[in-house]
């Protein structure tokens, strides 16, 4: 450390300029200069669009007179939101994504947890190979992953379909009942390794001494994993769950790609696809209301889950 310290200080030429009086921090202007290059774009491209979407969602477009009247935009209160909640397509998309999330998120995180726990035991060889294999999909954009898998689902091209047919099955990955799970599989493939690495990093940070006592008492690896390791890395598991909930509610690219080869995915399959379809029809106010509802559901679910789990851990 001291080596770095002396080297670092030597880099700075002693200009003998203004000296800082001891105690006081940097001037306000300096702090602003550090913060503003991030904060200004953050305001412009994060906060302003949020405020703008909320504002838009309270507007409605009305027409004067009959068919030939002109349209004008006016304040409509919660009118757009009433329409969102009366929209059966909206509820259908929420239902699909809910089913998707309830099944896909736990399955993915369970597999990730098992992999992380196994990589943290002396049971395995080839650890770095397994780690890289699992993490590799994270380098693949969602669109491209969905394109790759759509070839593996395609009845004409897929070697997987060929193999399953050879053992007498008739798989239809793009059928009306299966296509949701085919999309879920793409998400699982993409994100399992990423979540596994978050959990694995947390496991690696646990000091070994914590297990020593348990090992001396003859506890099995299994017992150590579930009774000691999993509770300690609970915060990481919660974090990956929250990220997964956010990701699920944003789902767009994967079903949009599968839609190109399957007629069983509608243009309003997920809430986000619905918002985009509505916006494409120039009904921006309705699309804004849908986006706001999705964002609120995301916040409620993420915070709700964090509160729920932290309370239980606290008691």
């Amino acid at each position: 450390m001291t080596d770095i310290a002396t080297r670092a200080t030597r880099v700075v030429p002693a200009t003998g300029g203004r000296r800082r009086q001891n105690g006081g921090g940097p001037r306000a202007g300096v702090i602003v200069a550090f913060v503003i290059p991030f904060f200004l774009p953050f305001v412009l491209f994060y906060l302003v669009p949020i405020a703008y979407a909320v504002w838009q969602s309270f507007l409605v477009v009305r027409r004067t007179g009959g068919q030939y009247g002109t349209s004008y935009t006016t304040f409509g209160g919660f009118e757009q939101y009433v329409q969102v909640f009366q929209n059966t397509e909206f509820w259908a998309s929420i239902g699909r994504i809910g089913l998707f999330g309830i099944v896909q998120v736990p399955v993915m995180l369970f597999v990730a947890l098992i992999m992380a726990l196994l990589l943290d035991t002396p049971l395995l060889k080839l650890k770095s190979f397994f780690r890289i294999a699992a993490f590799m999909p994270y380098a693949v954009p969602g669109v491209i992953a969905a394109i790759m898998w759509s070839f593996l689902y395609s009845p004409q091209l897929s070697p997987v379909v060929d193999l399953l047919k050879a053992i007498g099955l008739q798989p239809d990955f793009l059928g009306p009942g299966a296509v949701l799970w085919s999309a879920a599989n793409v998400s699982t493939w993409l994100w399992t390794g990423y979540n596994m690495l978050i959990m694995f990093s947390a496991l690696q940070a646990i000091p070994q001494e914590l297990y020593e006592a348990a090992k001396l008492d003859g506890a099995s690896n299994w017992a150590i994993a579930w009774k000691i390791k999993v509770p300690i890395i609970a915060p990481s598991i919660i974090l990956t769950t929250v990220f997964s909930i956010i990701g699920t509610l944003q789902l767009y690219a994967e079903p949009a790609v599968l839609r190109q080869i399957s007629s069983n995915i509608s243009s309003t399959f997920t809430p986000n696809m619905l918002a985009y379809a509505v916006a494409s029809g120039n009904n921006y106010q309705q699309a804004a209301a849908i986006s706001v509802v999705i964002a609120i559901i995301t916040f409620v679910l993420s915070f709700g889950f964090m509160r729920l789990t932290s309370k239980r851990a606290g008691l």
């Binding site: 921090g25 994060y46 294999a133 790759m148 990093s201 944003q250």
Partner: protein, 285 residues
């Protein structure tokens, strides 16, 4: 407990663990292997030969078809992806580092409030921002330009979060003090002393943001109409949608997908350790 049981348990669980991990590794590698094989085949063999076995080795012909299509539009898309991701992540990392450093090292009123607002940004679904951004950008005429994708991409609240905790861990107060005593201003201290100590963490921040921009699809899709501005993801998506009419495009979609993921995968494997520090930091939260 007697001594035999753990040993036997160990051998059984060792085999079971290896078998399970191999199955999972096959699952993760299968689509990539399939893509690799398919990219070497002539279009006609895609449907007529088994997908996991090589047939005619036509990779180079497929590559020249891919890059020759529509006056080399694919190379343009690749270049665009690189511009958006490399430039966006570079600028994004610098501004995240400045802000994270200030949050970690300067004491000022409203600091924690500022930090919580930025952290809240991590939870905002970015796809929810794309549509209102489109409307705002069309009012200012930025829509359908490089800036429309580039500007929103430089903002990464997660990057600021990482920069703050990395700075707190990697930049000791005494070094900053001695730089200040030597008369260096805050910016000079940051650029000559702190940035150097933060370099490994900056690589991590850069990588996360790079992948985020590289993989982004929704934002460019909403913002761009001009094909010459597309990133690879959007370009291949468009091509993939046309394969029903132009079936010969299929081979180019496959080859293009392979070309676009291989460089990133290689960078990933080379820079593995930087991911681990970032993911570990993310899990401390």
């Amino acid at each position: 407990m007697n001594n035999q049981t753990p040993l036997r348990e160990n051998r059984v669980s060792r085999t079971a663990a290896m078998a399970l991990m191999f199955l999972l590794a096959i699952y993760f590698l299968l689509p990539i292997y399939f893509l690799l094989v398919a990219a070497t085949k002539p279009q006609g063999d895609l449907a007529s030969t088994f997908g996991l076995a090589f047939s005619h080795f036509d990779l180079f012909k497929n590559l020249s078809t891919l890059f020759g299509r529509s006056d080399g539009i694919f190379a343009r898309w690749a270049l665009n992806s690189v511009i958006y991701a490399v430039l966006g992540a570079a600028v994004g990392t610098l501004i995240s580092a400045l802000c994270g450093y200030a949050l970690a090292k300067f004491k000022f009123r409203g600091r924690e409030f500022l930090f919580s607002v930025i952290l809240g940004g991590v939870l905002v679904p970015t796809t929810a921002l794309a549509l209102p951004l489109f409307l705002l950008f069309s009012a200012t005429g930025i829509v359908n330009t490089y800036l429309a994708v580039f500007l929103p991409s430089i903002v990464s609240p997660f990057g600021v979060y990482l920069a703050r905790i990395f700075t707190a861990a990697a930049v000791p107060e005494e070094i900053l003090e001695s730089a200040r005593l030597d008369g260096a201003g805050e910016f000079r201290t940051f650029f000559t002393v702190a940035l150097r100590l933060m370099t490994p963490s900056l690589v991590t921040i850069f990588l996360f943001q790079f992948v985020g921009i590289w993989n982004n699809f929704f934002l460019p899709m909403v913002m761009l109409q001009k094909e010459s501005l597309f990133p690879i993801t959007l370009g291949l998506y468009e091509w993939n949608g046309q394969t029903a009419r132009v079936s010969l495009l299929q081979e180019s979609v496959i080859t293009g997908a392979l070309v676009s993921i291989v460089p990133v995968i290689i960078v990933f494997i080379l820079l593995q350790r930087f991911w681990r520090t970032g993911l570990a930091a993310g899990s401390i939260k």
